[in-house]
């Protein structure tokens, strides 16, 4: 047994734990099984546990931005506000509508939560500290999140409520549409890193975070992931002023809470992914010497991005469904396609730098990629300007010929 290495805290804990189990007399197969189970429980617990705090944090933050106090009664500074909320939800009656499709009705919330938690399986907290280092991690993320869409569709349909169904249709249209730019922008980090493994992507960012190398992809990913989560300004799925409460209108009690939970976890999960894919994940100063620091870096980055999410949520007005789809299909998708092509060409041009490249070697690499991004952004803005002014002119032309009212 090696000495307990504090710098690589989590791996050391894992080793100690494994040896302890072996000493208890478990066979190696069972130990591996128990380890996997424990890992799964840990990851799930992390995801669900974090929600408790993010809910409070978010509410307080929103309160701040909207110039009010936010929750401040339960516990110090209202930090324990979530606890009575959860208790309230748990004790509420679970209502199932009479004409609902009961099986699907009860499956949908579970599926919604599961799809989000499954993503955490491939998110690296620190170097090598992750559920499972799949070599197709990025693809796994895309695949698993499609369950969420299914869950919403089933929830809307099985409720046998027309508002729920309309909402579900809207949501699915939105989610499927925004999945396209999401995946296309996700491909850029994969391309630059040369691997789909999440840990591999983070490791590849030793040569520079992808937010610097591919800012446009980051922006597209950020926008479309916001839409995937369904938060403002893309929160049409529960635009309560239009479609009552959205696809989950018939749900109550714990089942409703599960949708709520799923959405909330999804919000910061996406932030974690953004941090992993574009902001260097667990990378930070001295992380090579002390790997355990990675967890802290990762969490800090994740919550910083989450803060931006909340900030946007509280300040941006909601979009109309046709605007939202137009924006996706006419702007984001073409842009991300062009971006993907341009980036792949640029990456081919520069070639991938070696892992131990000196700064002098890295600078041209950064310069080319960043320069390409800047040029692309400039072109995009120019095209947008031209198209926008043309549309405006057409609208004005359409408005103009109002016949003058002639007096009697």
């Amino acid at each position: 047994m090696n000495g307990f290495d504090i710098s690589n805290l989590f791996l050391s804990i894992g080793q100690v734990w494994t040896e302890w189990l072996l000493q208890l007399g478990l066979s190696a197969g069972w130990v591996s099984f128990v380890n996997k189970l424990a890992g799964a429980v840990l990851v799930t617990a992390f995801a669900v546990g974090t929600v408790v705090f993010t809910i409070v944090g978010e509410r307080k933050l929103i309160g701040r931005i909207q110039d009010r106090l936010g929750p401040n009664r339960v516990g110090p500074f209202g930090l324990l506000q979530t606890v009575p909320d959860v208790l309230k939800l748990l004790t509420k009656e679970i209502i199932t509508p009479a004409n609902a499709d009961k099986v699907l009705y009860s499956i949908a919330p579970m599926l919604a939560v599961a799809s989000v938690i499954l993503i955490w399986g491939v998110v690296p907290f620190a170097n090598g500290v992750m559920g499972v280092d799949l070599d197709i991690g990025a693809l796994y993320f895309v695949a698993v999140s499609s369950f969420g869409t299914l869950a919403i569709l089933l929830a809307g349909w099985s409720s046998n409520n027309k508002y729920a169904l309309v909402s579900a249709f809207r949501v699915v249209a939105q989610l499927i549409s925004y999945e396209v730019p999401l995946v296309l922008s996700l491909l850029v980090p994969v391309l630059l890193a040369g691997t789909m493994s999440m840990n591999g992507i983070v490791q590849a960012q030793a040569q520079g975070w992808f937010v610097i190398l591919a800012p446009i992809s980051m922006l597209i990913f950020f926008i479309s992931s916001t839409a995937e989560v369904g938060r403002s300004p893309f929160d049409l799925l529960e635009a309560d002023s239009e479609i009552v409460a959205g696809y989950n209108i018939e749900y109550s009690g714990m089942r409703f809470a599960m949708f709520f939970l799923g959405e909330w976890i999804h919000a910061f999960t996406i932030c974690g992914l953004t941090a992993t894919l574009f902001f260097g994940g667990w990378r930070g100063p001295f992380v090579d010497q002390v790997p355990a620091l990675g967890v802290i870096y990762f969490l800090v980055k994740m919550f910083a991005i989450y803060f931006v999410h909340i900030w946007i949520r509280t300040t941006m007005p909601r979009l109309r469904i046709d605007h939202l789809l137009d924006f996706n299909w006419k702007f984001l998708v073409p842009l991300s396609l062009v971006n993907l092509i341009v980036m792949s060409l640029a990456a081919r041009l520069t070639g991938m730098p070696r892992a131990d490249a000196a700064l002098g070697e890295l600078l041209p690499y950064w310069g080319v990629l960043l320069g390409v991004n800047v040029v692309l952004a400039a072109v995009t803005l120019y095209v947008l300007g031209v198209v926008g002014s043309r549309i405006r002119r057409r609208q004005e032309a359409a408005r103009e010929p109002e016949p003058a009212v002639t007096g009697p």
């Binding site: 197969g29 799949l134 070599d135 197709i136 695949a143 369950f147 299914l150 499927i176 999945e179």
Partner: protein
């Protein structure tokens, strides 16, 4: 362990399949299809084809199943009929399916041993996903089928839009 997982996924695939063909309610049938296809994805994982498993989930569950559910809901009046989901010739259909299955079983059992254990297969190369990508884009291998498949997909997409679009003129 592996056997347990195999049996689990097999049951998912087959039970899901049976539900798909017997459920009268089409949305349920579609959900069962998701279950079945997820089971198949699990089988891919067992076969160490992780990429295919992910693509299976992505394409089938993320796209095709949702497309099917959409279509079901767009043609909704059909879903809620009281009549049976099966047509008159289902008895014959069952007979022929069973006969075919028996034939398949006969052939399979003749050709490969059913016995457990002592089964070995060559190891999958570590970078099989990369090998797959290279094979697809290799001029000497599958680039032509790959390109044809993409053209097929594009034309299917255009065709589907043209067919399904409501005609606004006249």
């Amino acid at each position: 362990m592996t056997y347990a997982v195999f049996i689990l996924f097999t049951l998912m695939a087959l039970c899901g399949g049976v539900l798909v063909v017997t459920q009268r309610n089409l949305v349920r049938a579609a959900t069962a299809l998701v279950l079945s296809l997820f089971g198949v994805a699990g089988l891919y994982v067992l076969l160490e084809a992780g990429f295919l498993a992910a693509v299976q989930v992505l394409v089938y569950i993320g796209a095709i199943a949702i497309l099917i559910i959409f279509a079901i809901m767009l043609t909704r009046r059909m879903v809620q009929g009281d009549e049976s989901g099966l047509n008159r010739q289902w008895g014959w259909a069952l007979v022929s399916a069973v006969v075919m299955f028996a034939l398949f079983c006969y052939v399979v059992v003749k050709a490969w041993p059913l016995a457990l254990g002592a089964v070995s297969a060559p190891a999958v190369p570590a970078d099989s996903t990369e090998a797959l990508g290279l094979a697809l884009l290799d001029w000497e291998q599958y680039v032509l089928p790959f390109e044809i498949a993409s053209v097929l997909l594009l034309s299917a997409m255009v065709g589907a839009v043209v067919i399904a679009r409501e005609k606004h003129d006249s």
